[in-house]
Each structure stands twice: as structure tokens, then as C-alpha cells.
């Protein structure tokens, strides 16, 4: 502690805290164990979903009618099938040995069946497939579907956030910087849209333009982004107004910098902290919105699937095949947990007002 090379130290060997906002924020974030864990989990999810095409997983669309509704297992689908028959035989044998002679023909029949199952398994190369997280009602691999579902959910979240942030920054910056009538007008619009029930508008847009295939995802982006830039616009506007009269802006202006230049070179970097906080908090909320729509059948359409679609499919047979619900639900929940912890951590780390809080 006493010989911190490269770090500013005063006469008392105390570290001088003249570090930048970002270094300071990072230092605080690193101390927050839950936020760090969140960061790691989010990072792991991001890597897995990005690398999905090169991961050794099955195709998430390929259906295997002989493998429907298999539970999670480390064994191959073939050996699960054989095991199932063998188990039945052992059961029957127990009954027969206990005096139920009437079940003997049944047992023999199934014994014969076992042979044919074994033959099938040996013949069919697909029997060697291992479904770590089970399969769904069409015999699709839940692992692959969950990973690809995450890909779509996260994509919606990221693109939605970026669009919302961009629109929000531009409108907020214009309103805040221009002030006067334009500001009034833009903020009236924001107020009015705020008054509208956000999710209902998205549902209407989805209902109107919802078609099959990839275009529905695009519509979804547009619908979510169209109604979600409001908060960021307000925040950016507020920040800009409070910064507008700050000294360093005056300095830049007196040195002949133009309006646009001032906004983008000076004001935006100053509002970046707030924007980051909002982005991390809105990413999970976009994911929730998308899943919400997909759950209602108004989101992405087959064969693409998001976490919401998977959960909604899982609900159908959850009594008999609970893993179909639990696997995507758990994946989604863990991700949202991680995002929330990360978002909270970032908020504490980046909020200058919390600087001296203990």
C-alpha cells in the first residue's frame, strides 16, 4: 500500500484521489461483488450466443419425431429409449414373479419389442444424439433452442436499446440545446406519448404489421424503439440544460466552436454516464417486452424463437414435461438477474452523487 508506483501520493503516503470519473467508477464497480458476478454472467451469455453457430450443438430447427419430449440427460437418445423399455420389462417381471401370470404375454411382447428397439437404435445414426437439456414437443434440442432463443432475445434487447438511445439522444439534445419553442413542442410530444399505454401501442403495432418470418422481428424492433426513447430524451435534455450554461461550454463557444460541435464533443460525453445507466436498465426491460409479446403469440414467429416463445411453448406441456418450461425460464431469469445486478452496480458506480455514500 505504501509504495504504489505510478499512483499519485501526498506527503502522508495517502493516495490522492484525482483519478478520472471512469477509473473511479470502475474501481467502485469492482468492489461490488454482485455487479461483478452479473458482468461475468452477462459476458458468458453474450459469448455463448455469439458463438452459437460454431458451438457443437444441434440445429435448433431440426425436428426428430422419434425424440419428442425427452427429459434432460447425459445419455444418448437411443439408450434412453432402450432403458425405458428395459425398465418396463423389469417392472412386469416383478409383477409376474409375484404371481400375476396374466401379464406374462405382455412381458414377452415387450421383450420382443426391446430387440426391435435395439435394432432401430443401432441402425439410426441419430440415436446417438445426446440432449443435455431434453427436447421439445417436436423433438428439437432444448439446449440449441435456448441458446438461439437467447440470441434473438438479446438481439432485440440490444438493437432496441441502441435505437431508443439514439433517438432519445438526438431529440433530447435538440430540445435541450435549442430551448424555447422547439423544446416546448418536443416535450409536449414526449408528454403525450408518455400518457399512452406503452405496451398496448406495441401490441397494436404488432397486431397490425405482424406477418410470418423475419420481418416480424424488424417490426418488433421498430415498435419497441418507437415508444421507448422518451425516458432517454428527457434525461438527456435535462442534463444538457444543466450543462449548457456550465463554464467549459462557455469556453468552447468563445473559442469559436459551432453548435453541433459543442453538442457532440462536449455535452454528449458528459451525459454518457447517465446514458449507460439507462441502457443497462432498459436492455432487460426490452427483453422482457419482447418475451412478453412472444409469449402472447405476437412476437417473433416460427421457426425463429425467443425466450418468450420457448416459455410459452413450455407452458403447454409443463405438467408432464416441466423441463420444457424450466430450461428457457431459468436461462432467461439468470440473464435478467445478472443484468439487473450489473445495472444497479453501474448506477451506484457512475452516479456522482453517490460518491461519498458508504
Amino acid at each position: 500500500m505504501s509504495t504504489n508506483i505510478g499512483q499519485a501520493v501526498n506527503e502522508f503516503n495517502q493516495q490522492v484521489a484525482a483519478v478520472s470519473l471512469w477509473a473511479d467508477a470502475w474501481r467502485r464497480l469492482r468492489k461490488n461483488r454482485m455487479a461483478l458476478l452479473g458482468l461475468w454472467v452477462v459476458g458468458a451469455f453474450a459469448i455463448i450466443t455469439l458463438a452459437a453457430p460454431i458451438l457443437p450443438i444441434y440445429d435448433y430447427t431440426s425436428q426428430e419425431m422419434t425424440h419428442i419430449n425427452l427429459p434432460p440427460s447425459l445419455k444418448s437418445a437411443g439408450s434412453i429409449a432402450i432403458q425405458k423399455v428395459e425398465k418396463r420389462i423389469v417392472e412386469l417381471k416383478g409383477l409376474v414373479d409375484g404371481g400375476r401370470e396374466d401379464l406374462r404375454p405382455e412381458m414377452d411382447k415387450i421383450r420382443a419389442e426391446l430387440e426391435s428397439v435395439k435394432a432401430d437404435v443401432a441402425k439410426n445414426p441419430k440415436s446417438s444424439k445426446v440432449y443435455l437439456l431434453g427436447t421439445d414437443y417436436l423433438g428439437r434440442d432444448m439446449l440449441a433452442r435456448t441458446i438461439y432463443g437467447g440470441r434473438i432475445s438479446m438481439m432485440v434487447g440490444i438493437i432496441g436499446t441502441i435505437t431508443a438511445v439514439l433517438i432519445g439522444i438526438i431529440i433530447g439534445a435538440i430540445a435541450g440545446y435549442a430551448g424555447g419553442r422547439l423544446d416546448n413542442f418536443l416535450m409536449r410530444i414526449v408528454d403525450i406519448i408518455y400518457g399512452l399505454p406503452y405496451m398496448l401501442i406495441v401490441i397494436i403495432l404488432m397486431a397490425m404489421f405482424h406477418k410470418d418470418g423475419a420481418s416480424s422481428i424488424v417490426i418488433l424492433f421498430v415498435a419497441i424503439a418507437l415508444v421507448s426513447w422518451l425516458t432517454i430524451a428527457r434525461v438527456v435534455r435535462g442534463q444538457i440544460i444543466s450543462l449548457k450554461n456550465a463554464e467549459f461550454i462557455e469556453a468552447a463557444r468563445s473559442m469559436g466552436a459551432g453548435t453541433g460541435r459543442i453538442i457532440f464533443r462536449h455535452l454528449i460525453p458528459n451525459t454518457l454516464g447517465v446514458i449507460i445507466i439507462f441502457a443497462t436498465l432498459s436492455l432487460p426491460s426490452f427483453i422482457m417486452s419482447e418475451s412478453f409479446l412472444s409469449f402472447l403469440g405476437l412476437g417473433v414467429s416460427a421457426p425463429a424463437a425467443s425466450w418468450g416463445t420457448l416459455v410459452s411453448e413450455g407452458v403447454q406441456g409443463m405438467e408432464l414435461y416441466p423441463w420444457r418450461l424450466l430450461v428457457p425460464a431459468l436461462a432467461m431469469t439468470i440473464f435478467l438477474f445478472a443484468m439487473n445486478f450489473l445495472g444497479d452496480g453501474l448506477r451506484v458506480a457512475l452516479d456522482p452523487q453517490s460518491k461519498n455514500r458508504t
Binding site: E11, F12, N13, Q14, T358
Partner: protein, 329 residues
């Protein structure tokens, strides 16, 4: 001012555990307060003045703070060792406080009447109506016009100066032995500061209340206080009668402070001297005089050990190696 000591602070230590390390906000503070005396505590911001006084009535927010040592004897009872219900009978009753920012020190959601009478009812056992009458009387004493009407208003309907008057009225309503005023005028307009100080001086003199006046302005101390403690980095560096300290400051820090006060009787044109450098933060300070980097008279020993307190015949005490008997190599 009599010789009877009503408050004796002995070697008070209050530390805060923070992420960065242990903040020794108050580290061995001692002083006596006599009946009816006005004691000034001066020092730069962060020197531990507020923490000292919150420690006296055992109101340090914990965690992160903790009073790790010392005694506070009020009429021979140690306030720091008292159970919670006993010290509550003293707070607001025998020892009351006024804080720096009158805009935030009153509860914005409650009427002045509610906030004033609750203290009176609690400590004096008066009924509601009597308490209200007493509150109105106190407001009148504090110079609030039309107190009968004003008492039913909310704090936001008062200006800053008026709110501080309300605070003064409230804090004196139970006729306390000691009034602790923590920078009572720092947040006010200069024109109002003098009025508030005059009011305090006048009322406490009339009621015979001893005052601990925290301030960072030596001018205020000169006008108000009988005795004076100068604090630096959590310690009292110099203590003595106000006149004596002003006439002959001994600690280099006190000397610097007094030199930096603008004086009307000395020809202007000379630049005001100010103490160079920044006060240290009080986290994990090594054993040394915390003032040495800013001190003109720093010696080798100052970097290695905190000076012991030297006492003088006139009751002054100074913590500085310049006056230490104990000469180390």
C-alpha cells in the same frame, strides 16, 4: 461565567469505517465547558468539528461511525456510557443543537407548531395548549413577527433566516444548559448572519445557556466566544481564552488562520496571506503532525511523531513541537 465545569470532553475519538480506510474524524479531542461560557470551535471544513459535537450527544451515525474512546462528562455523568433512554432525556432538553442548514433542518411535512410543541410536551410535560403557548412565546423571543399566525405554517413558508430563528426558538424552548450551534449562519446571507448571531448571543446570555459555537470564521469567534478551540485534522491544536489566542497565537496553524482574516484596522494593500496547501484527509494518517507539510516551521521530528500537548500558565494549551519540553533527537 463561573468556574463550574458542566461539560468535560476527555480524549474523544470517533472513527468512520469507509471503503477507503478508517477515517479518524476525531482523534483525541479534549476540552471543558463552563456554565454560561461560550466556546468557539474553529477549523477548516473536514477537521472534525461537526463529528465532535455529534459525538457529545452520542448521535454518530453507526455504521459507519463509532466512538472508539474517550468520555463526555455532563454534570459528572458520562453521556457515552448512558443507556439510550437516559440520553434521550438530555438531548433537546439539557443539551440542544442547531444545525448549519436551516432549509433542510426542519421537517418540510410538519407544521412549525407540531415540531416545536413535541419537544416541549416531551421534556416539560406540558399539555398541548400550554406547549403551544410556550412555543409562541419562544418564537416571539426569537423575533418572529406575528408568531400566533406563523406557528401554524409549514417551514417552506419561512425564509432561511426566519427558519434559523425558529430553530433557535425550538432549541432554547426547554431552557437547556448547553446549546450546540453547528455553523448556524454559514448557509445564510451575510446581512442576516449578524442578526442571527446577535439573537443567539442575546438569548443565551439571558437564559444563562452555555454555548458551543462551531464556525470556520474567526471573525465570528472574536465577537462571540469567551474561549476557543482550534481544530486540525481531528485534533485540537490550540486552546485558550479568545483574547489571549488572538493576541498571541502560538500554533503555526492558528497564526496562519489569524493572518488570513481580513482586518479593517490594518492598512489594506497587503495581500491577505493564506495557508498554502490542502488539509490532509484523515484516512490512515501516519503518526506525525498532520500540519507539517503546510508549516513554515516544520522540523524533522514533526514528520515522525504527533506532538504532545504543552500547557501554559494562562490556561492555554498547544500541540506543537515548538513548545514541547520533551526534546527528541
Amino acid at each position: 461565567m463561573t468556574e463550574e465545569v458542566i461539560l468535560r470532553v476527555k480524549d474523544l475519538r470517533t472513527y468512520f469505517k469507509t471503503d477507503e480506510g478508517t477515517v479518524k474524524a476525531v482523534d483525541g479531542v479534549s476540552f471543558d465547558l463552563h456554565k454560561g461560557e461560550t466556546l468557539g470551535i474553529v477549523g477548516e471544513s473536514g477537521s472534525g468539528k461537526s463529528v465532535t459535537n455529534l459525538s457529545i450527544i452520542n448521535m454518530i451515525p453507526s455504521p459507519p461511525g463509532k466512538i472508539v474512546g474517550g468520555e463526555v462528562l455532563f454534570m459528572d455523568a458520562d453521556l457515552l456510557a448512558m443507556p439510550a433512554n437516559k440520553i434521550r432525556e438530555i438531548r433537546g432538553n439539557k443539551i440542544s443543537m442547531i444545525f448549519q442548514d436551516p432549509m433542510t433542518s426542519l421537517n418540510p411535512f410538519l407544521r412549525i407548531s407540531t415540531q416545536m410543541t413535541e419537544t416541549i410536551i416531551l421534556h416539560q410535560g406540558l399539555g398541548k395548549d400550554e406547549a403551544k403557548a410556550k412555543a409562541i412565546e419562544m418564537l416571539k423571543l426569537a423575533g418572529i413577527p406575528a408568531p400566533e399566525k406563523r406557528i401554524d405554517q409549514y417551514p417552506h413558508q419561512f425564509s432561511g433566516g426566519m427558519r434559523q430563528r425558529v430553530m433557535i426558538a425550538m432549541s432554547l424552548s426547554c431552557n437547556p444548559e448547553i446549546l450546540i450551534a453547528d455553523e448556524p449562519t454559514s448557509a445564510l446571507d451575510v446581512t442576516i448572519q449578524a442578526q442571527i448571531l446577535d439573537l443567539m448571543k442575546d438569548l443565551t446570555a439571558r437564559l444563562g445557556t452555555a454555548v458551543i459555537l462551531i464556525t470556520h470564521s474567526l471573525g465570528v469567534v472574536a465577537g462571540m466566544c469567551d474561549t476557543l478551540c482550534v481544530m486540525y485534522a481531528g485534533r485540537v491544536v490550540e486552546r485558550g481564552a479568545t483574547d489571549a489566542v488572538f493576541a498571541d497565537p502560538k500554533h503555526p496553524y492558528t497564526q496562519g488562520l489569524i493572518k488570513s482574516v481580513p482586518r479593517l484596522d490594518v492598512a489594506s494593500g497587503n495581500r491577505l496571506s493564506s495557508i498554502r496547501g490542502q488539509p490532509p484527509n484523515v484516512i490512515d494518517l501516519p503518526d506525525c503532525c498532520p500540519f507539517y507539510p503546510r508549516c513554515d516551521k516544520a522540523m524533522d521530528i514533526c514528520k515522525r511523531k504527533y506532538p504532545a500537548v504543552s500547557r501554559f500558565d494562562d490556561g492555554r494549551s498547544v500541540a506543537c513541537w515548538l513548545y514541547s519540553e520533551e526534546k527528541l533527537p
